[in-house]
Amino acid sequence: MRYIPDSCEDEILKEINFTKEKLFSDIPEDLRSDLDLWDEKSEMEVKRELKNILDKNRVILNFLGAGVYNHYIPSAVKEIVRRSEFYSCYTPYQPEVSQGMLQALFEYQSLMAELLDMDVVNSSMYDWATSLAEAALMCYRVKKKPKFIISKNIHPERREVLKTYTEGILEIVEMEYNEKGIDLEDLKKNIDNSCGVYIENPTFLGYFEHNLEEIGEIVHKNDALLVAGVDPISLGIIKPPGEYADIAIGESVGYPVSFGGPLLGIFGVRNDMSLIRKMPGRLIGVTEDLEGNSGFVMTLQTREQHIRREKATSNICSNEALCAVASAVYLSFLGKKGLKELAELCMKNSNYTMKRINEIKGFKAPLFNSPHFKEFTVYHKNIREIDRKLLKKDIQGGVVLERIGFDLKDTALYCVTEVHSKEDINRLISILEVI
């Protein structure tokens, strides 16, 4: 019997004077039914079956981004994360025997807080999209106003998850955008009665938001909260959200793409108790033991569902803790200098690729005349055809935007990071040149 130790079933039954039937005698006969699955399989059979599925994959050069990013993960990160103390341990409800896990999560919270220039980052949300949805609900809890403003320049899935979560609670109003980011005139016109405004930097289409200070002013003058979605790697070179926003969210780094999950949603706020007490998610804090030694515990749990029930700030309990550990290890390896170098390298590779594509006849890259980070738009009147042809040559081009519901015709969003070598980029270019 796999995964079940020799249970001495008969011995136990005899010792407590029970029968097997008695154990389940409370389930009405007419409700019962068998499983109808299959007989147990050996590890070898299971591996074979999964390998048969895996073998259908083709490992090819790809330029996909749009929400999950291809970054190199040092082997040491995997080694540490796979230690059983992290990998298979339970939620740290007993802090006296969970200091390692608690400290690892506290390190994540702290590293992310430094990076965002925020003070408090929770120990994770499910992903970027749910972070956005919960941020909007939090803005509503704090400001009690019926509108939440976003830019049209965000991932369609993020927008959709936001709408699912806020349906019947908030009106989501979408702003136009231009090459400098969110349209300021549109924002001014619509800001009235809003509890929050969401912008991204870099924007979904890869270029930087230009008017951070003006946006902050408009939002705060109207008694709303500014939520900023960021790529943590970009913070190696650009201004952190702590300098202009109230809530920072995003997708973290240090774990594999894994077909879009598990990922980790960042959620951080300033050191303002009126915000902290309204935020969702688990928080790890420092305290003392009976002898005055400092130690880590889960804290501010009166915000959470197991205490506050229907009045909780959110229903979230299980989160993405292991991804938070991976992020902490990853960021520790990189350090301040490494992160800056990584950001510069992504930007250099991506801007080089962009420039080369733009030189090819029939292509325009980017569509928006603005500094770009690691993603950029590529226009071609037959972009879907280009995508198909690239695939035949074992290259997965950028995400065709219309395919994921983003309203920009004949355009793909390319992502280039440190994992792309000069040879990779040149291979893409040489194929695009003759397509």
Binding site: Y3, E49, S110, D119, G260, P262, L322
Partner: protein, 371 residues
Amino acid sequence: MYKLGKALCKIGGVDNITLQPAAGAHGEYTGIKIIKKYLKTEGFDKNEIIVPDSAHGTNPASSAMAGFRVVEIPSNEKGCVDLDALNEAVNEKTAGLMLTNPNTLGIFEENIKEISEIIHDAKGLLYYDGANLNALMGFVKPGNMGFDLVHFNLHKTFSTPHGGGGPGSGPVGVKEFLKEYLPHPIVEYDGKKYYLKHDLKNSIGKIKGFYGNFGVIVKAYAYVLTMGNSLKKVSEIAVLNANYIAQKLKDIYEFPYSELRKHEIVLSCEKIKKDTGVTALDISKRILDYGMHAPTIYFPLIVKEALMIEPTETESKEELDKFIDIMRKIHRECYENPEIVKSAPHNTEIKRLNTVKATKEPVLSYKMLRR
């Protein structure tokens, strides 16, 4: 994804499934959104979800998040849903009932058929909180008990590593009439190829980016592939182990409500507290001293000074006996040397941590610590 989904449907007695939710609570929220959209589409104006007072805190929290008013009903003297209280709570505003069966006391809701009838007669839907599915696999399917929606915790019932609190995965299975309400896309198979189906007529929309916690889904699939029909054995042994502990401890610890439990048992330390001043918290800390992880405490809320013990199928008789010995030893200590229990733990790297200070003076990052 398709194959795991099909297996889960069979286990849960449902017809269709979404693998998108990232955790149990996320699954609950998805289910409640589906109930809301379905009732609205059908032309009902309903805004109340009923939950028993023994329910997980996520049940009321998920319902409230989806905009429902939460109506809590008391349990009866057996620790189960009180049919009179349920009848009283049900009205034309009732959208549904969230229930875990066996409930959080580990007791099978014997009136489940009547409960289902009451809710369905009121044109409400019945939601199954899958946290306790471990107890029933191969014996009874939630769908057969009348549940319209069922969530599964892949990180509990299907054995994926806990990772210190996540990632988890909380698929939601539904009966055929709710298929079009699932978050899109769902995975379908046309006999030749698998594909993502986006056009669901009444979909609640997406509740997470991409397709769910795929990495967790693969691990759960490997587990289900391995176990197959032996999942029934998992439930059998989990229930046996829980009852073994209860029988071995019932002479010294109080077990409120029924004696026969499913996969978990709840004991009360109220008498011990009255006699000696030792609390459930103290006892849980003392368990750490003996090298075991303490069970959940102070839950369910309807049992005073509760310790909720869920041994699962993976512990051997030796381990169970070790735990029973520890609990008997601690009971003795409570009466002979209560101070040693009250000041526990003593053998851990760090002494008991001050959680009140952590809340009153929050230090949530090194940045805050430096200040």
